[in-house]
Structure formats: structure tokens, C-alpha cells
Amino acid sequence: MVNRLKKFFSGTYLGLMLVFLYAPILILIVYSFNQSKTLGNWTGFTFDWYVQLFRTPEITDALAVTLSVAAISSIVATVLGTVAAIGLHAMKRRDRLLLENISQLPMVNPDLVTGISLMLLFLFVGVRNGYVRLLIAHITFNLPYVIFSVLPKLRQSSDMLYEAALDLGCTPMQAIQKVVIPDIMPGIVSGLIMAFTLSLDDFVISFFAGNGVDNLSMYIYASARRGVNPALSTIIFVPVVTLLLIVNLKSIREERNAELQLKKVGMKR
């Protein structure tokens, strides 16, 4: 009885917290199918907001900017960062620690300060193009996340593998391609996903470093006073949640399978 009561209360509490976290977005999504402009006044079902969404060039442009900046910046950061991590890993300890510490700067720095510092640089050097500014800013703040998700994998993998590949006749480049990279692949992939989602989501750094070319966050900020088309919340929310759920559920299932296998072999604990 007491146990049941406990379960009931803990379930209720977790449920309430989930409502708190998701309700605002879900309500916006529900009202994106409402004919009336005002929230809380349901006048009938419609797809008008969605039609309008794709007819508003400001929104479609911002959507294109957000997606292309996220794709390009995360891929560039992943390539540059993975190569850099392999290099850092082979460095002398003292040099490596110095560089790792500097790399942490964008993660430690408040976004506001990172954004402003980049803005000052762009004005100082004379980079006018808003799209280029966004790309550079996003690559810069994505890089440390890639590096710090690849470096631990490099540390876990043994240098012996690389040497064995050389002994077996690989050229060094082949050895890196065929042995090192596959070995650290999970780190590279999680770095890429993290970089992509961070870029999709960024507002503060883009706002200060950018110049006239808006991503979705900047568009929402600029039009918050007049009101934002509620259909936008569906467009942003549904894909991100689906993507994250797929990624996470896959890893949960893999974990559970691994666990079951361990149990079968009788090796648990």
C-alpha cells in the first residue's frame, strides 16, 4: 500500500515536471491549427498558418540559413576538429595542455562575450558578409565540442593498433584512415551531432556576430513583439525531438541488448 502510494506520488511529480517542460510548446502547436489569431479562443481547424509560413520569405530564408549553416559548420568543425584532435594527441604533454586550455575558452566564455568578441573582430578586419560571419562563428564554437568528444576516444584507443597497421605494410595515411579513424568513429559521430544541434539552436553568438542575415532564432527574437507564426514551433519542435529520440532510443536499445548478452553469458558483475 505504502509502496503504491509512493509510486503514485513519484509518477505524479515526474508527470507534472514533464507538463511544465513541454506544455508551452505543445499549446503553441495545438493553436497553430486554430483559425483565430488570439490564443485561448478556438474558432476552428485550419492549415492556414502553415500555408502562410511557407509564403513568408523571411521565414523560409531564415530556415534555409539555419539548416545550411548548421550543416556546413558542423561538417567543417568535425573534419577540422578530428584532424586537430589526432594532432593534439600526438603532441608533447606541455604543448597539448596549453592548446587544450585555450580550446576550452569558447565553452567557458559566456556566449555573450564570445559573440561580442567575434563582432569586434569582424568589424576590425572588415568582414561584411552576414552569412560568412555566421559560418565562421558557428565553426568556432563547434570546434571545441568536436575536439573534446574525439580526444577521449583517442586516449582509449591504443597507439599499438596504429603501429601494427604500419608493421603490416600500411602507409601512415592508410593507417590513420583504416585503423585510427574507425576506432574513434563513435567520438566523431557524437561530436558531429552535438555540433549540428548546437548550431541549430544558437541565438546569442549569432545575434552579435551576425550581420543582416538571420537564422531562425534571430528571426524569432526580431519578431517576438509583433508575434511569431505559431506553425514555426511545429516546424522546429517535431524534427528536433524526433531526431533526438531516434538517436537516444537507439543507444538505449543497444545498451539493453549488450546487457542481455552479458546476462546470457553469465558475466554480469
Binding site: V83, G87, V241
Partner: protein, 275 residues
């Protein structure tokens, strides 16, 4: 030959290059886009018309500005406490569940971390405006901050708690501790590293938050981030703005060292850590 293998590479043409060379493109990127911009902030903070001066710092540290900083810290403290109060039970309850259920449910608590924070804040603005008269008050700003930062408190505490060895709890019960005592004397001390990580992950971003107060406070609540924005964008006074940024950076670094120290102290006593 072995040595060359460990440290370096030979290209097809037989030119000897070291593997550390791979880091060089990144080092150049870092120098141009991380180090140089920070030096520019320092430059603007300590010069005026090209000459060295402390005038900007003195101006930035005026009573009015310090009061804004104090206000931001007050908001950040409230946010952190509320997140801890609301988030710890979530993490604890999740950690007590069956492993697969907990893994699944925890995803739902962590997913909001990756969703456009501006859109979620905007959603609150619409909701508060339509259904309450709370919009454009301090409480609305606080609500927005707690809402945005809550997952950052739950995650580190949860990861610490699931690593907690259940046999400790059984041992405490066997030795006669009641559930409350077990919680206070065993669970809480062992989850300290997670709590401190959570505090760091909530307190520092919420001191430097920007835009939440503008969207939900309607410009009535001025936080430090808004002040920096005003100096740079509205007033175009880069020198004072840079000086304000430096003050913020120093504040953040000091609080971070403080937290790191507290974290080291607790993790020496055992328990997991996030970073």
C-alpha cells in the same frame, strides 16, 4: 624506425612529417577566431583613442552598473535554488526506477536542452500574455530562466545518482538507518559532485543570460547581459561595453574556480563526476 612510427609519418615521397602537424590548421583557426577577438575586447577595455586608460573600467564599475550585476546574481541565485529544488527530486526518482524505464524517461527530461531556447521562451510569453497577467514582471523572467535551465540541473545529478552503488543504501538500512536518515547521510553526500556540477551549469549561464529578460520582462527588468547589449548595440560605446564584458568574464572565472574547488573537494570523497 619504431620511433618514427610512434611520433611521425612518412608521406609517399618519403618526406618526414610529425603527426602533431595535424593540429596546426586548428591552431591557426584558434589564434584568429578565439585568441585575437579576446585580445580585441581587452584592447577596447583598456584604451581610449589609442592610449592606455583605466577610465573605461572605472566607468563600467559605476554603482548603477554594479547594482545591475547584483540584480543578475540575485536572479541567478533564485534560478539555481529553484532548479535544485525542482530538479533534484526528478533526478532522484528517475534513478530509483528500473534501468531501462529510467533511461527512456530521462531522455524526455534532457531533450529540451537541445530545443531552440528562444522559441520556448517565446512560447511562455504568448502563454503568460494570453492566460495570466504575469507577463512583464520579475516572476515571469524568473519562470523563464528556471524553465530554460532546469534540464541542466537534472542531467548531472541524475548521472551521479545512477552510478551510486545500491548496496550502500542496503548497508545503511541494515545498520538501522531509517529512509530519511539514509537519504541525508548517504544519498545526499554521495550526490554532491552532481549537485555542484548542476549548480555550475545553471548559475553561470543564468548570470550571463540575454534575451529572456527582454522577452518576458518587457525591458522592465534589466540584467547584466542586457546592459552589455545596450552599451554595444544601442549606445555603440565599445570601450565601456568591452570593460563591462571583462568584469563579467572575471566574475564568471572567479565563480568557476570556486565551484571547481568545491567539486574537487567532494569528488575526493567519492562519487561520480560529469566533467
Amino acid at each position: 624506425m619504431k620511433q618514427t612510427n610512434a611520433q611521425g609519418l612518412k608521406t609517399a615521397k618519403g618526406i618526414h612529417i610529425r603527426r602533431s602537424v595535424f593540429a596546426y590548421p586548428y591552431v591557426v583557426w584558434m589564434a584568429v577566431f578565439i585568441v585575437a577577438p579576446m585580445l580585441l575586447i581587452l584592447y577596447y577595455a583598456f584604451t581610449s583613442d589609442g592610449g592606455f586608460t583605466l577610465e573605461n573600467i572605472v566607468q563600467a564599475a559605476s554603482w548603477d552598473n554594479l547594482r545591475v550585476l547584483a540584480d543578475s546574481v540575485r536572479f541567478a541565485v533564485y534560478t539555481t535554488l529553484l532548479c535544485l529544488l525542482l530538479g533534484f527530486p526528478v533526478a532522484y526518482l528517475l534513478s530509483q526506477m528500473k534501468k531501462t524505464t529510467a533511461a527512456l524517461l530521462s531522455v524526455f527530461f534532457i531533450v529540451p536542452m537541445w530545443m531552440n531556447f528562444l522559441l520556448r521562451t517565446y512560447a511562455w510569453k504568448v502563454l503568460l500574455g494570453a492566460f495570466t497577467n504575469m507577463l512583464y514582471t520579475e516572476s515571469a523572467v524568473l519562470l523563464g530562466m528556471v524553465y530554460n535551465f532546469l534540464p541542466f540541473m537534472i542531467l548531472p545529478i541524475y548521472t551521479t545518482l545512477i552510478k551510486l552503488d545500491k548496496s550502500y543504501l542496503e548497508a545503511a538500512a541494515d545498520l538501522g538507518a531509517n529512509p530519511t536518515k539514509t537519504f541525508l547521510k548517504v544519498v545526499l553526500p554521495l550526490s554532491m559532485p552532481g549537485i555542484i556540477s548542476g549548480i555550475t551549469m545553471v548559475f553561470i549561464p543564468s548570470t550571463t543570460t540575454f534575451a529572456i529578460s527582454q522577452l518576458l520582462g518587457g525591458g522592465k527588468t534589466m540584467l547584466y547581459g542586457d546592459l552589455i547589449y545596450m552599451k554595444f548595440i544601442t549606445e555603440q560605446s565599445w570601450n565601456t561595453g568591452s570593460a563591462l564584458s571583462i568584469i563579467l568574464l572575471v566574475f564568471v572565472l572567479v565563480s568557476m574556480t570556486f565551484m571547481k574547488k568545491a567539486e574537487r573537494k567532494t569528488s575526493d570523497e567519492g562519487g561520480g563526476r560529469l566533467w
